[in-house]
């Protein structure tokens, strides 16, 4: 509990430091925009449209030409029913607070940061007793009993960027701490720490800036599953993916540790006027993550290499009438390759020496999307505005486990449309948004030889395949109101979305947020 309180204190400190810096320094720079205009711009689709190019801390210097801080208290409930990966549970609820700040210290330097806290509860999680599923999957520790998982996350990030002539440089550092647990057998207790640093540089060449960045990340998760009931323990399994588990270490190897390091680099280009012209970024990263059995002398059981390749090209143009047009092409490719370590003859508590390695599961996820944008913000005397974002995405997902001749190959095409209407009544800014789309499965092929369908792990796999290969449509609405009081703008928003699956029923998502922007 003491550690948790310390993290809360640190989180709050970071948030307030950002706020105070803005009060004492940021206001020395003349912000020409009024508070309602800042609110309007920050909430616009165009601001974040260029996407990943902003991850370079040097280029982030140019994110907004004004100082701002936002504080949001938010709550989300996602009732997924059968339309979910079993490892992520069928219901997800969280409440949290997020603070983001971007401060113009002087004409040539910026500081920025964020901090947050989130409390989360997932229900009916099966075959996953870990935290950070998306990071360690499929190499989780799991069992057929599962249940709810309660957890908390704290994070803070801070950065600084400086411009000197044609050159810009920036640094960021961040830390996230998460834990989750269940106070009923089986009782997992997971703690994760995630440390990241990024350094970037930019150089102005004509009307464009070229940026490069390098990121480093160190991740660690400690997990232990205990059984306190008089009935004793049940089996836990070290999942290998596609219904397989590491049979030799099944049973009561309940202590595990994940350790990983990630390197990432990016090259990007951004127009000197960030609101006009073409931007592009390509980034590539690799994370090497080991799963160790802490209850067996930290024996390295599995290795997971995740390679990411992302790129996008976006074009934005704002006309003199205030119409912003944009087009974005985006591609993302992620491949996760597992390696299973094979050990020799066991003796006592020793599992012998590493005799060989075997290639494990390979999961390749690729997406290519095209997105358009039209937006017109309320500005000055104009009391209305609107935005439309059409999107088309091709998605291909392939899981291959060649050593056991199993595979699942999926492909899909989706199309969506988001439309937003802005309206200003005196000082009250209102935004109403509607969205809808359809995700059409194009192909779903799988072969799972040797799968014993009477087993819980097999049933979970088949349920996941049904979910992932399903076609669905969705529709949603979002309403937001902003009202300025002195130097602060209060906001309140509600969001609802329903997703209607062909086979997996209906999933409902609801969120609300109360925020302050200044």
């Amino acid at each position: 509990m003491i550690r948790i309180r310390m993290r809360i204190v640190i989180t709050l400190l970071v948030a307030f430091i950002g706020t105070n810096v803005q009060k004492t320094v940021g206001q020395t720079v003349a912000d020409t925009l009024s508070l309602p205009d800042k609110v309007s711009r920050m909430g616009s689709f165009a601001t974040g449209f260029r996407g990943e190019v902003w991850q370079n801390p040097a280029l982030y210097y140019y994110y907004t030409p004004y100082t701002w801080t936002s504080v949001d208290v938010n709550a989300v409930r996602h009732d997924k029913g059968r339309a979910a990966l079993k490892q992520e549970g069928d219901n997800d609820a969280h409440v949290g607070v997020d603070v983001h700040s971007f401060v113009i210290l002087s004409e040539h330097n910026r500081v920025f940061g964020s901090a947050g806290y989130r409390s989360r509860k997932q229900d009916n999680v099966l075959w996953n007793e870990n935290i950070d599923w998306e990071l360690v999957a499929p190499y989780v520790t799991g069992d057929s009993i599962g249940g709810f998982l309660k957890g908390e996350t704290y994070y803070f990030n801070g950065g600084y960027a400086d411009e000197s002539g044609r050159w810009t440089w920036g640094l960021t550092g961040g830390y996230r701490a998460s834990h989750n647990y269940r106070d009923k057998d089986p009782r997992p207790r997971n703690t994760a720490s995630d440390l990241s640093f990024s350094a970037g540089g930019g150089y102005r060449l004509g009307t464009y800036r070229i940026g490069v960045s390098a990121d480093f990340r160190y991740y660690q998760q400690n997990s232990e599953i205990s059984f306190l009931a008089d009935k004793g323990s049940t089996s836990v399994y070290h999942v290998l993916g596609l219904g397989m588990d590491y049979a030799r270490f099944a049973g009561n190897q309940t202590g595990t540790k994940y350790q990983g390091m990630q390197w990432k680099g990016s090259v990007g280009i951004l127009p000197a006027d960030a609101e006009q012209g073409i931007s592009a970024v390509v980034s590539m990263g690799h994370m090497a993550l080991d799963k160790k059995l802490s209850s067996a002398n930290n024996l390295t059981l599995l290795e997971l290499g995740t390679t990411n390749l992302d790129g996008n090209v976006s074009w934005l143009r704002t006309s003199w009438k205030g119409n912003t047009f944009g087009v974005k092409l985006k591609a993302k490719y992620t491949v996760r390759k597992g390696t299973e370590n094979l050990y020799g003859e066991a003796g006592g508590s020793s599992y012998g020496t590493l005799i060989s390695t075997s290639p494990g599961i390979k999961i390749a996820d690729s997406r290519i999307s095209a997105e358009g944008l039209w937006e017109k913000l309320p500005y000055g005397e104009r009391t209305w505005g609107g935005a439309i974002i059409p999107n088309v995405t091709c998605h291909r997902w392939r899981a291959d486990y060649n050593t056991v001749s199993r595979f699942v190959h999926l492909s899909a095409l989706s199309g969506s449309l988001r439309a937003r209407l802005h309206y200003q009544i005196n000082r009250l800014q209102l935004a109403a948004e509607a969205n809808g789309g359809y995700y059409a499965n194009l192909s779903a092929e799988y072969a799972l030889p040797g799968l014993d369908t009477s087993k819980s792990s097999a049933q979970t796999l088949l349920a996941n395949i049904t979910y992932l290969s399903d076609s669905y449509g969705w529709t949603g609405v979002r309403l937001q109101g902003n009202y300025p009081i002195k130097k602060y703008s209060l906001s309140l928003s509600f969001q609802w979305q329903g997703t209607y699956y062909k086979k997996c029923g209906t999933a409902r998502y609801a969120a609300c947020s109360l925020g302050v922007f200044f």
């Binding site: 060449l205 004509g206 009307t207 464009y208 070229i210 059984f227 009931a229 008089d230 009935k231 004793g232 323990s233 049940t234 089996s235 397989m244 590491y246 049979a247 030799r248 270490f249 099944a250 049973g251 009561n252 090259v267 280009i269 073409i278 592009a280 390509v282 590539m284 390749l309 992302d310 790129g311 090209v313 591609a331 490719y333 299973e340 094979l342 050990y343 020799g344 003859e345 066991a346 003796g347 006592g348 508590s349 020793s350 012998g352 005799i355 060989s356 390695t357 075997s358 290639p359 390979k362 390749a364 690729s366 290519i368 291959d400 060649n402 050593t403 056991v404 040797g450």
Partner: protein
């Protein structure tokens, strides 16, 4: 500026192209040369057919190879190899066929090539005798959901077609566990005898306790009606024998004959290994061997070396020669099993209460010998000296099924 945009476009295209690349790695394979020879006194015995089964310890996947294949390619890993086959020899000019079996545990396949010379044995050619039909070890839950001890039992079955006498039958539990293999044991007597931690004997003068063909008898710790204390348990008040250690802790039912305790590692209550990670055996002392003589002459003084290299203090237990053994069963959960603690000729395999050594899944389960065939109304149980194939693991105990 156009050059910049062109360069970026090229970079972007290259990135997309990367996603189409395939860089699959293959599984490391090794050539394994295999051979099998029979360890027997029968002259001229030759293996004629059979199947090698390679069970991958890491994945439990099995690969079958037909005899007489001598070279195969196998994915690198750790394997337990079993051979089940047939052999023939000539007796007075007539060809006689026998079953042969062999096992080699923890065979490392790696490094491109390796060699496996497997020793097989002729399967049970002697007269049918008593066999261990059932061993119930984990106990039960009481009504409060807590583990209940004392209702363990062993069922011993007359597998012959004649009346056998239980008098003098020895029941024993191994000293070593199947889940902890030592680097070495000095002296290593496994090919001569079983190292035992408990030896108890059915009383009688030789003909006091007849057992009819196809009938069995029950031995247990506490021959009482356990249902009175725990409705989830069983009534063992009709058991045939119990082992009672004179102590404040143990319970004696005077109505049920006590087994003669030759040696027991504990002076309080002997509870059979609940986790199911030891071997159990039955046997007979040779003609004229007395309890006193056995106790005097069959101590086993030894030391062992842990995998860490630590040498144990001198230990003193007992040994039971292999030639006196009638039947032996090695038990060990698959996830923790490391070795058999009896000679291969006694038991070439092992069975288990549960695949994993986890209490909640294993409680209330037993190992049960399979029925090989029925001779009129008499069930003949399978006894090939390979408990992997002779037993049904994780079975429902017969006394619970009643």
């Amino acid at each position: 500026m156009k050059k910049n945009q062109l360069a970026l476009a090229v970079l972007f295209a290259a990135a997309l192209g990367f996603s189409a690349c395939s860089d699959d790695e293959g599984v490391s394979m090794s050539d394994v040369s295999i051979s099998a020879t029979v360890n027997t006194t029968i002259e001229g015995l030759q293996i004629t057919s059979g199947t090698y089964t390679f069970e991958n310890v890491n994945t439990s996947a099995k690969t079958d190879v037909s005899y007489p294949t001598s070279l195969i390619q196998l994915a690198d890993g750790l394997y337990n190899v079993t051979f089940i086959g047939k052999g023939t020899y000539s007796q007075n000019g007539t060809s006689v066929e026998v079953n042969v079996q062999g096992v080699q545990q923890n065979v490392t396949v790696s490094g491109g090539s390796c060699k496996l010379d497997l020793t097989a044995h002729v399967v049970n050619t002697g007269d049918a005798d008593f066999v261990i039909a059932e061993i119930f070890l984990p106990g039960t839950y009481n009504e409060a959901g807590k583990q209940y001890n004392g209702d363990q039992y062993v069922r011993i079955y007359n597998n012959s077609d004649t009346v056998l006498y239980a008098d003098g039958l020895v029941f024993m539990e191994s000293q070593f566990t199947t889940t902890q293999k030592y680097q070495s044991v000095d002296p290593d007597i496994m090919n001569e005898a079983i190292a035992v931690g408990s030896v108890v004997v059915v009383p009688g003068n030789g003909t006091d306790y007849p057992v009819q063909p196809g009938e069995s008898f029950i031995i247990c710790d506490n021959a009482i009606n356990h249902k009175e204390a725990n409705p989830n348990s069983i009534d063992l008040s009709n058991a045939n024998f119990e082992w009672y250690i004179e102590s404040k802790q143990d319970v004696d039912n005077p109505a049920v004959p006590n087994m003669d305790i030759y040696y027991c590692y504990t002076k309080t209550i002997w509870i059979l290994n609940k986790q199911g990670n030891r071997a159990y055996a039955i046997g007979r002392l040779p003609e004229g061997m007395t309890k006193e003589q056995y106790i005097a002459d069959y101590t086993y003084d030894y030391t062992y070396v842990l995998q860490s290299g630590t040498v144990s203090k001198p230990q003193s237990k007992y040994k039971f020669p292999n030639e006196w053994v009638i039947d032996a069963v090695n038990i060990g959960a698959t996830n923790e099993w490391q070795w058999n603690v009896t000679a291969t000729e006694l038991d070439m395999g092992h069975t288990y209460i549960g695949v994993n050594n986890t209490v909640a899944e294993n409680i209330g389960k037993c190992v049960m010998r399979k029925v090989a065939y029925t001779d009129n109304d008499r069930e003949v149980l399978q006894d090939t000296n390979n408990s992997t194939v002779d037993f049904t693991p994780a079975a429902t105990p017969s006394l619970f099924a009643e």
